[in-house]
């Protein structure tokens, strides 16, 4: 595992995924989020919070967030990211879906970590899909462990993992026709 290489490659990936019209200077947002000028960072963070985050890589403070790298990429790039991290010997921890109903988006968070010994290294890969057409390619052919996690995310949030071998009901009963973790779910 090469931390610098992973960082560089992911940065590149995130930059590739930016919409064409966007000015290049803004592209790879490398923010040393929590540093000395905390107030400044806070103010900045506040500003950023209101709009959805742009694609890019953030080197997060491990002590505050629990992750080392945090990268947001386009949904069609998750397979590339998975292949990259797989070749570096990383493990998939979990796949999480978040329903950002106000923005009309689902966020899919992939947690990767390094479990082959040595100090821990955690990478968070995020991708956002449209809430009305929640399609994202599966990574279960790269990581067998992602299979169940994706299945669960589909079941609870309705995110469609394109190419997943078995998107069937898993935790919920077979006849469940609802997605309980969606924010507009009414029991």
């Amino acid at each position: 595992m090469d931390r610098a290489k992973i960082k560089k490659e992911l940065e590149k990936l995130a930059a590739e995924g930016l919409p064409a019209g966007q000015p290049q200077e803004e592209a790879p947002v490398v923010v040393q989020a929590e540093g000395e000028g905390e107030d400044k960072a806070k103010a900045k963070a506040k500003k950023e919070e209101d709009v959805p985050r742009k694609n890019g890589l953030i080197e997060t403070d491990y002590a505050k967030r629990g992750a080392h790298l945090d990268v947001q990429i386009n949904p069609d790039q998750v397979v590339k990211a998975a292949e990259l991290l797989d070749s570096e010997g990383m493990t998939i921890d979990m796949v999480t879906g978040v329903d950002w109903i106000k923005e009309g988006q689902f966020e899919i968070i992939y947690d990767y970590s390094y479990t082959a010994g040595g100090p821990a290294f955690r990478v968070v890969v995020r991708a956002r899909v449209d809430r009305n057409k929640p399609d994202i390619p599966t990574i279960s052919h790269i990581y067998g462990g992602a299979n169940w996690h994706e299945r669960e995310t589909w079941e609870l949030l309705g995110i469609n993992f394109v190419g997943h071998p078995q998107l069937e009901h898993f935790l919920l009963p077979e006849d469940a026709d609802f997605f309980p973790l969606r924010k507009d779910f009414k029991p």
């Binding site: 493990t91 082959a116 462990g145 935790l171």
Partner: protein, 372 residues
């Protein structure tokens, strides 16, 4: 013989192992396609005890989510408490007094021994030996008594709080724990003599259920399963939390990659936990057990937070997405058995039925934690 003729001759049948089956320790169901005594395909089916803890996390306030932590893995609930406490302390920036951290470690390790004891006993019972379970239960009862005297409950602990622990330990607990350790160490030798050295058991475990480090990595297996495959990875060492860096202990690793290796990792971990407890008791500082500045209304800043601990069955981690209100926007729980059991389908192909169940037992699944 052509392959077509072969496939016609081959007659398979489906067998449902569980949800009510003695070897699954709960309501796990495995749909097995059998070819005689051999397994063609085994598909675990989950969800029989699914309670949607993640949704509860969204509906309850941060404090109200506490009791849920005791109900995921009911055998090592204190580690789960530890994870939630650590997560929120990370999010809120609370500094925990040192005494509280030591108490957390002591109780968590006692809980780990207790969990491994039950895992050991139940595993041997899966293999047909009833007696070791009862011996393990005897020791486990001592631990439960000790933990009951501090936490007030015997199984579903809800003992930790943001910024410390619910109440302090007393001298009775300390002397009781020391006495227990003194009594427990010879018992481990007894287990080894009675069980580990037994030729029948060795025959059943050695070489059964091989798991390469690669398959462990692909499926995100952690804990004794990973360490039984020769990888030295333990959150307590590799991503130290609490006061573990100040304590001296080893991580047992076995390179055989079979069920016996996983079993031995658990047995050795009990001894290491004893070492940790002993040191922690010696080092136990005086002082408060709750941080002074814990806000009444908990509102962690926006953003998401991640925290991982080493539970008895592997890495338990939580990711929470906070939107700055007094409950979580999204709570994600990563349970170790979920990942560990997900490799069962691939690894069990072509095994004998009895070997497959020995292999499943060596993964030590706890069903409520998988189903969440």
């Amino acid at each position: 013989m052509s392959s077509l003729a072969q496939s016609q001759l081959r007659e398979t049948f489906e067998l449902n192992i569980g949800p009510q089956h003695p070897a699954t320790h709960g309501v796990l169901r495995i749909k097995v396609v059998m070819d005689g005594e051999y397994i063609d395909r085994a598909e675990p089916i989950l969800g029989y005890i699914h309670r949607m803890h993640e949704k509860m996390g969204e509906n309850r306030t941060w404090n109200q989510f506490w009791p849920n932590m005791g109900r995921l893995d009911y055998l090592s609930a204190i580690a789960y408490n530890h994870c939630y406490a650590g997560l929120m302390e990370r999010a809120l920036g609370i500094v925990v007094p040192e005494r509280a951290e030591y108490i957390r470690v002591i109780t968590a390790e006692l809980n780990r021994i207790q969990s491994h004891l039950l895992g050991f006993g139940a595993y041997i019972m899966d293999l047909g030996g009833f007696t070791p379970l009862m011996y393990a239960m005897d020791e486990r009862e001592q631990i439960l008594d000790l933990l009951e005297s501090v936490t007030g409950s015997r199984l579903t602990y809800c003992y930790f709080r943001f910024g410390g622990v619910y109440n302090d330990i007393d001298d009775d607990f300390i002397t009781g724990t020391r006495a227990f350790l003194k009594r427990f160490r010879p018992q481990i030798d007894l287990y080894h003599k009675l069980v580990t050295g037994n030729v029948i058991l060795m025959d059943r475990l050695i070489g059964i259920g091989p798991l390469s480090p690669e398959i462990c990595r692909k499926y995100g297996a952690t804990g004794p399963v990973l360490r039984g495959s020769g990888i030295n990875f333990d959150i307590r060492k590799n991503e130290p939390y609490s006061v573990y860096p100040e304590l001296d202990f080893d991580i047992p690793v076995y390179h055989e990659c079979d069920s016996m290796a996983r079993y031995m990792v658990r047995m050795d971990e009990m001894g290491q936990s004893c070492r940790i407890i002993e040191q922690a008791l010696n080092k136990l500082p005086e002082g408060p057990v709750m941080a002074e500045k814990v806000p009444k209304a908990l509102k962690p800043p926006k953003g998401d937070y991640y925290y991982a601990v080493e539970a008895a069955r592997g890495m338990f981690s939580m990711r929470t997405v906070s939107d700055g209100t007094n409950n979580s926007y999204r709570m994600r729980l990563r349970s170790p058995t979920y990942s560990n059991v997900s490799l069962f389908e691939e690894a069990s192909r072509g095994m004998l039925l009895s070997d497959a169940l020995a292999f499943l037992g060596s993964l030590d699944p706890v069903i409520p934690e998988m189903d969440r």
